[in-house]
Subunit: 392 residues, 2 copies
């Protein structure tokens, strides 16, 4: 019966499976709880509180041209958006953004592909190997391989890789397990891409400004605006920045100006919340995020302890320069390991109780693990905790 | 001296070359006139006239989720946008949109790639051949080949193609030459993609609703909003629609909701201009477009005649069902052929007079031809006509 209701458009080996419950709230105690995706709807309530401040107004005649700023390497980047990106990084202290090229993308997924394109020689006889240490974000492999490119190919776990020419993806804090990650390979010929989507104060301690060659960020996880499909890369090298821009030219001839105009306003409100003198503490996005996520993690750890059915990663606390105190991590995903004897496939087990999660096998590890989104709306998370507590 | 000023980021064989003058107005009589791109800034003045009607307001908490409508094959398509697309096609009569799947894309460029992905078998040993009759849109080859995909590859002029397994792109009215085009190949195993970006009443007579398997449209050319990066495909077959959706999932996890919300409003205003009873004739986009373009084409033909330096295509007039009368075509691009003896490279010749155009060689034909955008702002077009008239 459950199976009938859980109709997904699952495609083997690919990342996203959309089901009839994706993005919606559970309508009853008995509803399917969909925590498969990292849909950041938790942040909706913050933006409702902010009222008109987050609103954007775009007249019909604005931003009609393909071009935003032809003096910039990334000619389709709206200057106001670039300004607010640099302002926010300077405020938070999570990345060096001054004197770096900013490349805007249709989400960080497009920027990930732009980085692979930029770092792979166009005249190579063999495709470049793309690797990441397990457990790695399930999307990396699918997105690298879906077009069977001659430029790059997925080569799996970085720790098991033996060559000296590669692109290593470092996701830190890591999706799915929330740990701070460092490169595991160390060849002079190797290239690196740092996916820093979750390096924001609501999720982890900001221990210093990251200063890597290519760093990826996205509004999805920083402010919760997944639907705007907007990310940015901070890039040191001008030639790499030009190649990434070229990829986005060829892929989509630039990036929605409407999303950029909106995101500029959204980032401005976030920075204003900390920088303007008369600000209400409720107007502070990262404080809001930490409070909600901290409470959710507490409740989840409590259920883990009382039921003994599953375990969770432990994170060491660290000094966060942004909040000025010691803090522990509250990752955007919970990385659950089923501890009950006889349960080898945790995703299927939870599915039988109408809880949709993503199996460890998509992340390069055992099916005893599942990834669970911590970013859904309150109603969904509450029901998740209630249902988990009731499992026998 | 001219060369110094005309610094482009030209990449051989690729479509877009951004120069310091892209998207901007000429500042003096002596300025560079950039008509290389099809930047549709001509429509800005229409949308200014429409004032607040074209304005969109998006509150901070709206459309934050990845998901728009999970009951739809294209789960990231905003229902309001879909509604306005169908309404506009029904009004104009240029395509069958009811009972067709609508796939939204980040411009029709992304949808073009989605169509190639959908129509190419994922298990084939050889990549599928992609062809189009010369002169073909310069972007098709670059966009097909930039990732060196194992699924599809550019195979050039459809008329010269000999196999029976292929994807033929039919652009009608054609970019660059403005003619109505039909498939040139006819194999049962062949697939077709119809690029109908210019099949709108400002450019050509609407002789009936197109009803092809895959039809591509874009707001860039229909309403002039290139910066929103939004296109749509009308697709007959459900499985093809699902594969196209999957491509966009993997490529960008959906399409900007902000752009969709804005475009829904823009399309609504266009339809309202014809369907609401009290409408000002100045509020009719297609009439505005036809009037401006008709006048521009008259002036360009006049210069061709008086100078004898170049020729232009002639178009037969046809009955337009939408305007209810006989009309001639006013294409978005002029396809100039240099007729002066000794000039083999028309792009270079015009560049020496600071007029930037796109050479015929990018479209698979001789360098005697160039493509010139007819969609720029009045100031730019006026200066273009003035400078052309003065050439010796």
């Amino acid at each position: 019966m459950v199976v009938e209701q859980v109709k997904g458009v699952k495609v083997a080996g690919q990342d996203i499976s959309v089901s009839s419950t994706s993005g919606s709230k559970p309508v009853s105690k008995d509803s399917i709880i969909n925590l498969d995706h990292g849909d950041p709807t938790m942040f909706e309530s913050f933006w409702r509180t902010m009222g008109g401040q987050g609103t954007v107004v775009i007249p019909g005649w604005q931003t009609m041209s393909y071009f935003s700023d032809v003096t910039n390497v990334c000619w389709f980047l709206e200057p106001d958006f670039a300004l607010q990106i640099r302002r926010l990084h300077n405020l938070v202290g999570n990345a060096v953004a001054d004197d770096r090229h900013i490349i805007v993308g249709t989400g960080s997924t497009q920027l990930f592909q732009a980085a692979l394109y930029a770092l792979s020689p166009s005249d190579a006889t063999e495709p470049m190997s793309v690797v990441s240490a397990v457990p790695y974000y399930s999307s990396y492999s699918a997105v690298t391989d879906y077009l069977r490119s001659g430029l790059f190919k997925w080569a799996g776990d970085a720790s098991a890789f033996t060559g000296d020419s590669y692109i290593e993806i470092i996701c830190s804090p890591n999706n799915p397990d929330g740990y701070i990650k460092h490169p595991v390979l160390n060849s002079k010929k190797g290239k690196m891409v740092h996916d820093l989507a979750y390096y924001w104060p609501q999720y982890t301690a900001i221990t210093g400004p990251a200063d890597n060659d290519i760093m990826l960020f996205t509004v999805s996880k920083s402010t919760g605006h997944a639907g705007t499909r907007l990310g940015w890369a901070l890039v040191k090298d001008r030639e790499v920045a030009k190649r990434m821009t070229k990829f986005i030219e060829l892929n989509t001839i630039g990036v929605s100006k409407d999303s950029q105009v909106r995101a500029a306003q959204i980032l401005k409100v976030v920075s204003d919340g900390y920088e303007l003198p008369v600000t209400d503490p409720a107007a502070r996005l990262f404080d809001y995020g930490r409070r909600i996520l901290g409470y959710r993690w507490e409740r989840l750890r409590e259920v883990a302890k009382t039921t003994g059915m599953f375990s969770l990663p432990e994170y060491e606390s660290d000094h966060c320069n942004f909040i000025g105190q010691q803090t522990s991590a509250n990752p955007a995903f919970a990385w659950l390991k089923c501890e009950r004897d006889g349960i080898e496939d945790c995703e299927n087990y939870l599915k039988s109780y109408k809880i949709l999660t993503r199996s460890g096998k998509h992340f390069g590890v055992e099916a005893k693990y599942v990834r669970v989104s911590m970013l859904d709306r309150d109603e969904t998370f509450d029901l998740f905790i209630e249902r988990l507590s009731s499992l026998k």
